[in-house]
């Protein structure tokens, strides 16, 4: 399959706008589930308002949240796909810029020192583009995640040591969720990275926070930890918007990698209740959109 860069550019424009407007079904179901299980009256009002907002956004064809976030594009390349890597990155960037200027969307991207906004959602190394590979034949997938700042501002890394054990990891996750409180726009998906190098650990936490609800860590120990920590954080009482209640997190997701004998790194990254993402899949038959 030969990838057409004009189609990639169009899709990357479309993906940003789609992601901002329509929540994935698993996230909608997640809010409904927390609403049904919520025992706190104030939290019920908060969750119902979130449900109302989802339908208002769809009815008015509007963005769910004002925060257009930091644009993240995750590319997965299957087998037998011909492409020019640099042209692919340029097409993604162009699509992101066109969504921002043509829709128009708020550009939330500034230079980190001058704080200057180019009003394109683009800049040095932004959008954030990651590239990975998969076994599927003649297939390329691009997932777009607008990452809101309320949740991103609550990102944590601890280079724990082997003597801290898994309990040190668990305690750090609990501490992180407590210190974030209502600032992350809970209920959240709590992404936890365990092991690897320091930067792998942070990247795994982000991947975990943006994974679909209902998915499980492929590692058995990781999956067990997900269940244990999901139950634990929902006993903290932070609740939706930090105003108290049962529904602090949709889930805790864990991603892990083998690490050094002397390391025990743990990272936490959270995704807000507007857990937005959109996906485009390119095959020889054309482009299809989903979550």
């Amino acid at each position: 399959m030969q990838l057409q860069m004009k189609a990639v550019e169009e899709a990357c424009k479309e993906l940003y706008i789609r992601a901002l407007k329509v929540l994935p079904d698993d996230v909608k179901a997640g809010i409904e589930r927390l609403n049904q299980g919520e025992s706190d009256a104030r939290a019920q009002v908060v969750l119902k308002t979130m449900i109302t907002n989802i339908s208002v956004a769809e009815r008015e064809d509007n963005l769910l949240c004002q925060d257009t976030g930091l644009p993240i594009y995750k590319v997965k390349i299957g087998r037998n796909v011909q492409l020019d890597g640099m042209a692919l990155k340029a097409a993604i960037r162009k699509g992101c810029e066109r969504a921002t200027t043509e829709y128009p969307l708020r550009s939330s991207v500034v230079h980190p020192i001058t704080r200057k906004n180019n009003h394109t959602s683009c800049g040095i190394d932004m959008p954030a583009i990651s590239i990975d590979f998969c076994d599927d034949d003649e297939m390329l997938e691009i997932e777009m995640v607008p990452k809101g700042s309320g949740s991103e501002n609550n990102s944590f890394l601890k280079m724990a040591i082997p003597a801290d054990g898994i309990n040190g990891v668990k305690a750090f996750v609990i501490e992180s969720v407590v210190s974030a409180g209502g600032k992350t726009c809970p209920p959240t998906i709590v992404g936890v990275g365990i092991g690897g190098t320091s930067e792998q650990c942070v990247a795994m936490a982000k991947r975990a926070a943006t994974r679909a609800l209902g998915s499980a860590c492929p590692d058995e120990e990781g999956a067990k930890l997900e269940q244990e920590l999901t139950a634990a954080v929902n006993k903290l009482g932070i609740g939706p918007q930090g105003l108290g209640g049962d529904g602090t997190a949709f889930a805790v997701h864990v991603e892990l990698a083998h690490t050094h004998i002397t390391l025990n790194p743990v990272a936490v990254n959270m995704q807000c209740h507007s857990a937005r993402r959109a996906r485009a899949t390119f095959t020889p038959d054309g482009v299809t959109y989903g979550f």
Binding site: V46, N62, Q66, A171
Partner: protein, 203 residues
Amino acid sequence: MAHYNLPTPVSEADIRKLRVNDTVTLQNTLFGIRDATQIHMFDKGRKTRFDLNGHAVIHTAPNVRKVPVSEEFPAGYQPICIGTTTSDRMERFTRPLMTENGVRMIVGKGGMREGSASAFQEIGGVYLAIIGGTAALETTWIEQIEDVDMDDLNPESLWRFKIKDFGPLLVAMDSHGGSIYQEVKGEVARNKEAVLKSLGIAS
């Protein structure tokens, strides 16, 4: 738990009536303000031409479309999606907003800390919680972008919105020292001990 319909601007007496868990619907005018706006106002000495006395500000940076100035769009901006950002980052600006500009109400999400609570108590102010991430809904409560100041900071300009039935908003911090966030923080600290224990962790 009373509900108040509050046309802006308000007086100190209006604010002193409000207690945590009351709800408020705002009418007339609301000002949009954010990190950069307040950094320029209070760290760089810029003055706004807007009179914020007795008014409400919302922590926001909206999605807007630039359009020709008309009766419908007097500031040359059409609102697209206007929502709320996390208030905590702007904690240190609450007191100067009140003492230098006379602001009485802050609309935001996630809550503010002790410094804001004491400013609300001493000067007469409230924090009105809106549900973060529900911008599509909030946008339907905004009729028009009436005016804009410090627009070189766009989208973090100082915006003047014409509003209708903006709410219900929850009084989450009042002028009598009440704060739902402080209450929840205390409960969470107690719950945390039990949670750590259930995970087999000695605290």
